[in-house]
């Protein structure tokens, strides 16, 4: 089946337009690597051929999206595969609110196209420059106690496995495979077509309220419950907070008795949920996910730590978000109602010491790191945080028996898992 360009192309970063001799770096610049070859197959059959050849030759193949990941999941020294030619909306089921899209479709393009046909994603993260496959594969999420991460929109599709086989799947016929695929960062197969569970198009009213930490923290759960989308920025150098609330027009709560309204606008979800797609300056990020109660305690602990140790150099806000519990095997929100805490720092400033000082606090509160953001947890440590870790390893062995889909980093991360699965 041909998967040629079917939609207007985004102006986003494209692996296939990059010269491998120059080396690659991720969006923030904190990760650099040099693949031996970069390819952009035009069809599923061509991709299957590339992976099959790599398997026979003992080589590896790594898919890459928009290069927003900061961990070594994308850093390959061998074949890099771009899905630039797998873009657009391929088919629509209006009755079921489902659409089949190309795995390389960039989220903001997807949002526009879906809106034209009366559909919408249930949620977005803070940026919409990732590809849909990248966002799904890394567990990208927005914020809201009744909103899943973006991976849960995956209900079927087609992929090429590590042995070069083309495999179609659906939630109805392969529920366990889908639960594993949703957050698998390209290690079970390279997605080509993705069937998404969507919603009828809708509008949201975005309001951003500014106030103090003390005015908000005791009522955090209350605020989360009364907004469709809700997250919190805490500013280390002033102890102020910004509440970012999105609701159906006319339904947003009024916080003017204790906060001032910094922003108010209404639009389609792809227009008003992602806020920072076009930031001119880069930053690096560490995020951990917690059981909701533990996250509150953790926020207090890191607030104390940052104020006492890091205010001299850290100005960037800390982001606190909510994610609905799911049954995805390696999801940050697996089997627990979740809140996440993200640290940020300008990429031009030292950030590793800051992250390294806070990370033990994250880990002591039972945190699970975001797969695509900076962390130092090993496979053995992660295995203790994910009940389905070993099962995932078994499935990986079935779908990628020769480790074709592993980068050097992923091999180190998943090798213990593979051994445990034997």
């Amino acid at each position: 089946m041909s998967m040629g360009d079917r939609e207007p192309q985004s102006d986003s970063w494209r692996a296939s337009e990059h010269d491998t001799r120059e080396g690659y770096q991720n969006w923030s610049g904190s990760l650099r690597f040099r693949p031996s070859r970069a390819v952009a197959p035009r069809s599923e059959e061509e991709l299957a051929q590339i992976i099959g050849d790599a398997s026979r030759q003992g080589r590896t193949v790594r898919p890459v999206g928009s290069m927003h990941s900061s961990t070594g999941i994308i850093a390959t020294d061998d074949i890099l595969v771009s899905l630039d030619h797998f873009r657009g909306v391929y088919s629509v089921d209006q009755k079921a609110h489902r659409a089949e899209v190309g795995a390389g479709t960039v989220l903001r393009d997807l949002g526009k196209r879906l809106s034209e046909i009366g559909l919408a994603m249930p949620n977005y993260g803070d940026v919409a420059t990732q590809t849909i496959a990248g966002a799904i594969g890394t567990g990208t999420h927005g914020s809201g106690i009744d909103l899943y991460n973006l991976s849960m929109t995956l209900v079927g599709g087609s992929m090429v496995t590590g042995s070069g086989a083309i495999k179609t799947f659906s939630l109805e016929s392969d529920p366990d495979l889908v639960r594993a695929m949703r957050v698998s960062f390209g290690t079970l197969g390279i997605l080509t077509r993705i069937e998404l569970q969507l919603e009828p198009d809708y509008q949201l009213h975005r309001q951003e309220w500014c106030t103090t930490f003390d005015a908000v923290f005791p009522r955090l759960c209350e605020f989360a419950a009364e907004n469709r989308n809700f997250d919190l920025y805490w500013y280390p150098r002033s102890d102020e907070v910004k509440l970012r609330c999105l609701n159906p027009p006319g339904e947003g709560p009024d916080y003017s008795s204790f906060a001032w309204l910094a922003e108010s606008r209404t639009g389609a979800p792809h227009e008003v949920i992602p806020k920072h797609s076009d930031l001119p300056d880069k930053f690096d990020e560490m995020e951990y996910a917690f059981a909701a109660d533990a996250a509150r305690d953790c926020l207090l602990a890191i607030r104390d730590r940052i104020r006492s140790r890091w205010r001299r150099t850290v100005c960037w806000r800390v982001l606190y978000r909510f994610v609905k519990a799911d049954d995805t095997w390696l999801s940050e929100a697996h089997a627990r109602e979740t809140a996440t805490i993200s640290l940020h720092q300008n990429s031009s400033l030292p950030f590793r010491d800051y992250f390294a000082d806070i990370e033990p606090i994250f880990q002591s509160h039972g945190g699970r790191p975001h797969w695509a953001k900076i962390h130092t947890m090993t496979g053995a440590q992660l295995g203790a945080r994910y009940p389905m870790w070993r099962r995932f390893g078994q499935l990986r062995r079935e779908l990628d028996p020769d480790g074709v889909l592993l980068t050097p980093y992923l091999r180190g991360l998943l090798a213990p898992q593979m051994e445990a699965a034997r």
Partner: protein, 124 residues
């Protein structure tokens, strides 16, 4: 009537106090500029920060609407990168229309709070 103001301003003696005491954000130690745009055109500003031992950083972009003033804490500037607290710096402020700039340092690091304010030095 001519519009008061200049398009190039300098604050040569910046240093955001590291320590604060008291409730925040009211009593946060800070370096702050008050920016007045008395004209009929929105002002686009670019701030460049100079240090004693490292290369300048900037521009930090700000806008001030026509016939409005705005207060900005240097503590909170983040793009392209945050200013360190407790480190000497100088700020060069360029505007595409005439503005007036006042600089204030508020230091609450000790029990006896200190406040210092001065009109920045205008060049053009």
């Amino acid at each position: 009537m001519s519009v008061p103001g200049r398009q190039l301003w300098v604050i040569p003696g910046g240093c955001i106090p590291l320590a604060s005491t008291g409730r925040e954000p009211e009593f946060t130690s800070r370096d702050e500029v008050a920016l007045l745009n008395p004209g009929e055109t929105d002002a686009s500003l670019e701030i460049t920060i100079y240090y004693t031992t490292s290369e300048p950083v900037g521009p930090y972009a700000l806008t001030i609407k026509a016939r409005r003033m705005r207060q900005v804490r240097f503590n909170d500037l983040i793009f392209p990168e945050a200013l360190p607290l407790g480190v000497e710096y100088a700020a060069l402020i360029r505007s595409d229309v005439p503005i007036v700039v006042q600089f204030t340092r508020y230091d609450t690091g000790r029990t006896n709070r200190a406040l210092m304010g001065a009109v920045a030095y205008s060049i053009v």
